[in-house]
Each structure stands twice: as structure tokens, then as C-alpha cells.
Subunit: 149 residues, 2 copies
Amino acid sequence: MEALGYHVMLELYDCDREILNDRHKIEEYMLMAAKKAGATIIETAFHHFNPQGVSGVVVIAESHLAIHTWPEFGYAAVDVFTCGHTVDTFTAYRYLKEKFGAQIVKTYELKRGELFKPNMIAREHELKVEKLDFEKQVEDKSLGVMENA
Amino acid sequence: MEALGYHVMLELYDCDREILNDRHKIEEYMLMAAKKAGATIIETAFHHFNPQGVSGVVVIAESHLAIHTWPEFGYAAVDVFTCGHTVDTFTAYRYLKEKFGAQIVKTYELKRGELFKPNMIAREHELKVEKLDFEKQVEDKSLGVMENA
């Protein structure tokens, strides 16, 4: 099924804790990851928290990269959300894994904006397939998997 | 299992296409969604693409909100990534769904930064549980679900 976006979530564990608290290094690495992956950088926003931790986003022409770090746990959450076929997500992943010294990595992938056929029967069918493919749905019952407004 | 972050991905379909191409309205709605959810706004970065489409990120003290729109398909991808227990993600979701006029919504939830017990056996066990809970793993064989560096 055709999709507009490709979203990879990286869970980086057992990273270098000093780097995870270094706003400037993190911004440098995230920008370099975007460049190495072939993305076009539009804008960045990085912030160091007190007493520790860094959040940052790189808006790219092909969507975004984001990072949140917890130096006290040696953990960083990284998102690489791209559209089109020009960005090499794997290169960004390998680069960041090495730079942060991550010893354990978990990755998740989600296709974003899967395009439906223009009728509700097809939509429902596609959604069922989606649900089977991606078992872990929202646990909060108030957030529905599919809703008609 | 304890987790550091809570990541909700919203797939908004059949939205108001004019709004999806209006950078200022989108920024206003994303900021208001963050405020209504009780988040502390740190920084924003929004961009309108030529000929159409908007990307934007709101860095909050509790992580981030992000949006990418495809007006030509009536579709927006929204991420609400939070940490702690003070941000009401559901309020942000309801607000954005209404403002964008989304007729169909799919949502996914992912716990980020699940904390492992401090030995590899426990880690491996937790990862297996994780894998069962969240079937849709990275399809690209080069990105492993779990890797030791």
C-alpha cells in the first residue's frame, strides 16, 4: 500500500551519558545525520534542560528528525520521519548509533499516510489489514483506532 | 513496564485542505493544542513548502509535537511525544481533529524508553515481550530490532 511518509523510531540505550547532556554535540550530530542521509535542512530547534537532558528537532524538506535524551538513564529517543525516496534513513541511524555510543538499539517503523481507495468499504478493509500488521494500538480506549467524525 | 516517554501518532484523513496549506493557522492550532494539553512551549519551527504542504514542530518541556501536511491528499501526520504525567494528549488530539476537520483518524501509541532491568537476560526477556506487543517491526533487514554494538 502506498504511503506518504516513512517514520523510523530509534531507541538508543546505554549511550555515552556525557554526550547525551551536550546540547551542542547533539545538534552537530543530528545535523550531520540529516546531511549524511541526503536530507535538505530547513530549520533547527535544540534545547538543554536543567538539570539534564536535551530535546531537539531538525525540520527537513523531507519531514523531520527529532531527539530527546535522558542522560541519567543513558537513553535517547530518536525519530527519523521522511517522505519521498531520497533520504537514506539507514545511514542516519548508523551514524547516530555510533556517535552516541549506543550499546543496544531497538527500532520501530511506521508507514505514515497510507493512501486509501476512495470508498469506505476499501477503507475499512485497509484499516483491518493495518491493524493486523501493527498490533500495538492505543491502549487508552478514548483514542479510537478508526473514527468517523 | 516503566517508560520515559509516551508517543502518540495521529493519522488525520479527509481534513480541510485549505487549512492544511495554511502555515499560520497550523502553527496557531499546534501551539493551542500544546497549551490546552498543559504543555510548556519552548520553541517552534514551521515551514510552508512550495507548491503546497506545511511542516512544523513545537518543542515542549515535555518533548514535542510535530505535523506534516499533504493538502493534495487531505492528510496530516501529527506526533505528540510527551514525558511525565502532566500533558493531556487526548485533549490535544480532540482539539486538532476538530480544527483540521478530520473525518477519519487512525492513532498509534508507542512507549518510548522502556527501562530494563540491569542485566542482559532481563533485557532480552523484555525485548521479546516488546516484540510480541508491537508486531510491526522494521522491514528493512539492515535495521535490527535489537543489536549489540
